[in-house]
């Protein structure tokens, strides 16, 4: 970071009015066991601002009808709301064309779509798919299933001790047998921000298409799919302060246009007869059945909210909070941070002495501090560090230094209970 950039960052962080942000989120007023909730489990899912809750409720109250089906006024209104959400999402990630946004159930669904409809047809026995050692189970298992089915091989670029992907090994794994690369932009278990631009570049030097799992990046960073140049980008609404049950797959239009349907049903066809069915153009081709219309509308409202707050300001504030939390946690006796990558998002995975993460979670919970404990759907990452589980605090822009202090104070209680 240049000095000027660093200064901009710092200015943006100080200008950030977190109290006013917190008033936008009803969950920030919640209490557990009589104590204010400190919600530090944002990598699992995020809380929703009033504007998102209201957008969804409003759609149910005043625009509820099926989409693309009716001539009646309400259906037209519903369709307009749904398609307007698609447009917002396209703008949000700077897609060249709105039709490059496919509404799906979430990141998992998006990855399965690409595995089943795109990669499957390019995979012969002996071919390879490359992923990294950082991946969430949802960016491992679909590829494993596919490799099994096609007699292909899954190759995994290892992590170094800090939690960065070994780039030399990654480059070495890319070969003339590689048909697909699938990488997370940001790791949910460790917070590592992958050098995704470089990783995409290396794959493209060999004409290998790349899917980026953006589940953890989209809520925290400005995403520009054209600048990244990736073929696919997958993300979930619920991690972006939007509703559950909806997400988006960005796919380059020329590729989507060549891909066969993922599921069959209504919406995804042009004409159906018992002899032959003609498929609709993307994105409809990949949206069989009645979609999560209210969810998509809420997703659009979440994007509006993020843009209003400003991704640059969010990133600067979270960077500053991460630095503070890291410093505080490192002073906790016997605490070992797992994941100290060069570039990190606001995720802090740790173990405390020989106290199991589950016990840490229970003790913090009693203090009203909500964190995640376990393997974070990334068992290979846990194995890499030789721990069965970690405790993980993951921060968002509505979190505060005071909540970090409460986390640290809660960790102090571990000694009271367990001694040592």
């Amino acid at each position: 970071m240049t000095d000027a950039l660093a200064k901009n960052h710092a200015d943006a962080a100080t200008a950030f009015d977190v109290d006013s942000i917190r008033r936008d989120f009803p969950a920030m007023q919640l209490k557990v066991y009589g104590k204010p909730l400190a919600y530090l489990d944002n990598a699992a899912t995020s809380q929703k601002p009033e504007s998102v809750i209201e957008a969804e409720a409003h759609w149910y109250r005043e625009s509820c009808a099926n989409v693309h089906r009716g001539v009646h006024a309400l259906s037209v209104k519903a369709t307009a709301a749904y398609e307007s959400a698609r447009q917002k999402l396209a703008g949000f990630i700077n897609a060249a064309n709105t039709r490059e946004i496919v509404f799906v159930r979430g990141t998992t669904d998006a990855i399965n779509l690409v595995a089943g409809s795109f990669a499957r047809n390019r995979l012969d026995p002996g071919d390879e798919i490359v992923i990294s050692g950082l991946e969430h189970h949802s960016n491992i298992v679909p590829w494993q299933l596919l490799c099994e089915e096609r007699g292909a091989k899954l190759r995994v670029a290892r992590l170094d001790d800090r939690g960065d992907v070994d780039m030399d090994e990654y480059a070495r794994l890319l070969s003339e047998r590689t048909r697909m690369v699938a990488l997370s932009h940001i790791s949910n278990a460790l917070g590592t921000i992958n050098p995704i631009e470089r990783m995409i570049e290396l794959a493209h030097e060999r004409d290998i298409p790349v899917l980026v799992d953006g589940a953890q990046a989209a809520p925290h960073k400005k995403i520009d799919v054209q600048a990244l140049g990736c073929e696919f980008y997958a993300f979930s609404s619920h991690k972006m302060f939007g509703p559950t049950g909806v997400g988006a797959l960005y796919g380059r239009l020329d590729l989507l246009s060549e891909m066969p349907p993922y599921q069959g049903g209504g919406e995804m066809i042009r004409t159906v007869s018992f002899d032959k069915t003609e498929y609709a153009e993307p994105p409809a081709r990949f949206e069989a059945g009645t979609p999560n219309i209210a969810g998509a509308v809420g997703f659009g409202a979440a994007v509006d909210y993020l843009l209003k707050v400003g991704l640059d300001r969010i990133e600067a504030y979270e960077d500053e909070l991460l630095a503070y939390a890291t410093e505080r946690l490192l002073k906790v006796p016997d605490l070992r941070l797992i994941g100290t990558a060069r570039r990190k998002a606001a995720v802090l995975s740790f173990v405390v002495g020989d106290v199991h993460a589950h016990d840490v979670g229970t003790i913090l919970d009693q203090e009203g501090v909500a964190i995640r404990t376990g393997h974070h759907c990334a068992q290979p990452v846990m194995e890499r560090y030789g721990v069965p589980a970690t405790s993980r605090a993951s921060l968002a822009f509505y979190n505060t230094r005071e909540e970090v202090d409460r986390l640290v104070a809660g960790l102090g209680r571990i000694r009271e209970v367990f001694g040592g």
Binding site: V355, H356, A357, H358, T362, Q366
Partner: protein
Amino acid sequence: MSDLMDLYQEVILDHNKQPRNFGPLPDADHQAEGYNPLCGDQLKVYLKLAGDVIEDVHFDGSGCAISKASASLMTEAVKGKTLAEAEELFGGFHDLLTGDPSVRAEAPAKLGKLAVFEGVREFPVRVKCATLAWHTLQAALAGDSEQVTTE
């Protein structure tokens, strides 16, 4: 805080720190592996039977304080018991954790040391930690070679 102290009783902390009957049992004739996918607890229970009496029982693996202490106290509780008695103990233990409080009024007496887990009642997400060892014991007795999980 009082709830926390109810959960993490002295006896539980002691068995967590110094688990009894810990480690494999070389001449075991039954064994099974238990797994709690929620938190990654993983333990193995080894048994040696003489007729229908549990002559020896060991466990090993990794897990939270509740699951480890529960496994340790279980091995002490069932050693020397008949299979029927062990089964009955588990029934009582299960009721202690999840049952209707009025029905299990006299149960803790029969359970002996196992009664220290009563505090787990107040932490429903932790019940599975406390019962993992017992489910694994059942699986070992049933001769299931497959891993049991709490899900």
